[in-house]
Amino acid sequence: MFDLQGYGHLLLDGAKLTLAVGVGAMVIAILIGLGASLCKLSGIAVLTGAAGVYTTVIRGIPELVLILLVYYGAPTLIQDVLKLMGMEVYVGVNPFIAGTLTIGFIYGAFATEVFRGAFLSVPKGQIEAARAYGMGGVLTFRRVILPQMWRFAIPGLGNVWMVLIKATALISVIQLPELMRNADIAARSTRKPFTCYFVASLIYLSITVLSLGFQQWAEKRAARGVRRA
C-alpha cells in the first residue's frame, strides 16, 4: 500500500525506541506520582506545599520547553555551577536519558492528581477497620489502601499513558532516533514526506488502539472483586 523504499524497518526500529521511552517515562511518572500524591495528602505543610508547587508549575509549562531546558539547559547550568566552585568540566546528556526523565517528570505531575483522587476514593471504613485490627500507618497503607487504590487509578493512568506516548514524539527535537525522528530521516531520503509521516502516524494510532484494549482488560481485572447490581 505504501512504498517506503526500504525505510520500513527504520520506522519499526523507531517505534521500538518510542515504546522504550514511553514505558520508562511511565514508570518514572508512576513513582513520582505516588510520592507526590502522598506528600499532598500527608498534611505536613512543607510537603503539601512542595508537591503543590511541582504540579502547578509543571502543568503550566509546555513539554517542548521543558525538554529543551533539560537537554540543553541542565548541562550548561551544572557547568556554570561547577565553574563557580573552581572546576572546569564538560557535561553532556544522553538524549534517551534526558528525554525519558523529562517526560516522566512532566507526567508525574498528572499522575499525582490521579493518585490523589484514587487514594481519596478508598472508603474511610476500610481504613478504620484496618486501624481497629491494630495496623499502623505504613501497614494500613501497604495492605489496605494501596491494593484497593489501583482500581480507581487505572482509568486516569490510562489517560496519562495515552498523552505521554504521543508526547514522546517531541524527543525527536533532541535527535533521539525514535519513531518521529526516523520518519523525518525517511521523509528526507525518499522525498516522500507525506507517505513517511502518515505511516508513522498510523503506528502511533495502533499503539493508541492497543493501549485502549489493554486498559479495558486492566479495568475489568481490577474490578473483578466488585459486586455489581
Partner: protein, 233 residues
C-alpha cells in the same frame, strides 16, 4: 546566571508571546467554529454521518500533534503540483498557515468530543419541554441544547484551551518565531540555554494562568446559577 541576556532578549521574547497568543487565539476560535457543527453531527443517529466525524476525531486525538504539523507542512510538498493547480500551494508553503491549520484541526477534534459529552449531558426534561413548546431541529439546538451543552462542557473546554496554548510551542519546530522559537534562536547563538528556556517557561506560566483566570471568570458567570452557595461575581 547571566541576567543581562535575559533583560536584553526580553523584548524579543515578548514579541514571541504575541505570536503565541495570536496563533492560539485564531486556532481556538476556528476550532470552536468547526467543533460545534461537528459535535452535532457526532451525535447523529445516522451512522453514515456519525462515523466520519468519529474517524476524524480518532485520528487527530490518537496521533501526536507534531506528526500532524509535519504532515501538513512537509507532507504537502508531495502534492505540490496538485495543490498548485488548485491555487492552494501558496498557502501550504507558509509555515504560519500550516501551523494554524494543524492546530485548528487538532483542537477541533478534541473540542468536538468535549462538546459531544456536553450535548449528551443535557437533561432530557429540557429537550422534552422545548419540544412541547413546538421547537425542533435547528431551533431546538440553537436555543436549548447548545447553550446547555456549552455550560456543561466549559470546565473541560478550559483545559483544552490551556493545552492548545502549550502545544502551540510546537510551531517553533517549523521555523515560526513564537516564545519557544525566539528562545531557541537566541539560546543557540549565545549559549545561554537555561537562562532563556527558564524565562520562556515563566512567560508560558503567566499566559497559562492568565487564561485560566479569564475562563474561570466566565465559568462563574455562566454556571453561577447552579452554585448559589458561592459568592456571585
Amino acid at each position: 546566571m547571566d541576567t543581562e541576556i535575559i533583560i536584553e532578549s526580553l523584548p524579543r521574547l515578548l514579541d514571541g508571546a504575541l505570536i503565541t497568543m495570536e496563533i492560539t487565539a485564531i486556532s481556538v476560535v476556528l476550532g470552536f467554529i468547526l467543533a460545534i457543527p461537528l459535535s452535532v453531527l457526532r451525535v447523529s443517529k445516522n451512522p453514515f454521518i456519525r462515523w466520519p466525524v468519529y474517524a476524524f476525531n480518532f485520528y487527530f486525538r490518537g496521533t501526536p500533534l507534531l506528526v500532524q504539523i509535519f504532515l501538513i507542512y512537509y507532507g504537502s510538498g508531495q502534492f505540490q503540483e496538485f495543490l498548485s493547480d488548485w491555487g492552494l500551494w501558496h498557502f501550504f508553503r507558509e509555515a504560519w498557515f500550516c501551523a494554524i491549520l494543524s492546530l485548528t484541526l487538532n483542537t477541533a477534534a478534541y473540542s468536538c468530543e468535549i462538546f459531544r459529552g456536553g450535548i449528551e449531558g443535557v437533561s432530557f426534561g429540557e429537550v422534552e419541554a422545548a419540544r412541547a413548546c413546538g421547537m425542533s431541529g435547528s431551533l431546538l439546538y440553537r436555543r436549548i441544547i447548545l447553550p446547555a451543552a456549552l455550560r456543561i462542557a466549559w470546565p473541560a473546554y478550559t483545559n483544552e484551551v490551556v493545552f492548545l496554548l502549550q502545544s502551540s510551542s510546537l510551531v517553533s519546530v517549523i521555523t515560526l518565531m513564537d516564545i519557544t522559537g525566539v528562545a531557541r534562536v537566541i539560546a543557540a547563538r549565545s549559549f545561554a540555554f537555561y537562562e532563556l528556556f527558564i524565562t520562556a517557561a515563566v512567560i508560558y506560566l503567566v499566559l497559562v494562568y492568565g487564561v485560566l483566570f479569564v475562563f474561570k471568570r466566565v465559568e462563574n458567570k455562566i454556571l453561577g446559577h447552579l452554585n448559589p452557595g458561592a459568592a456571585s461575581s
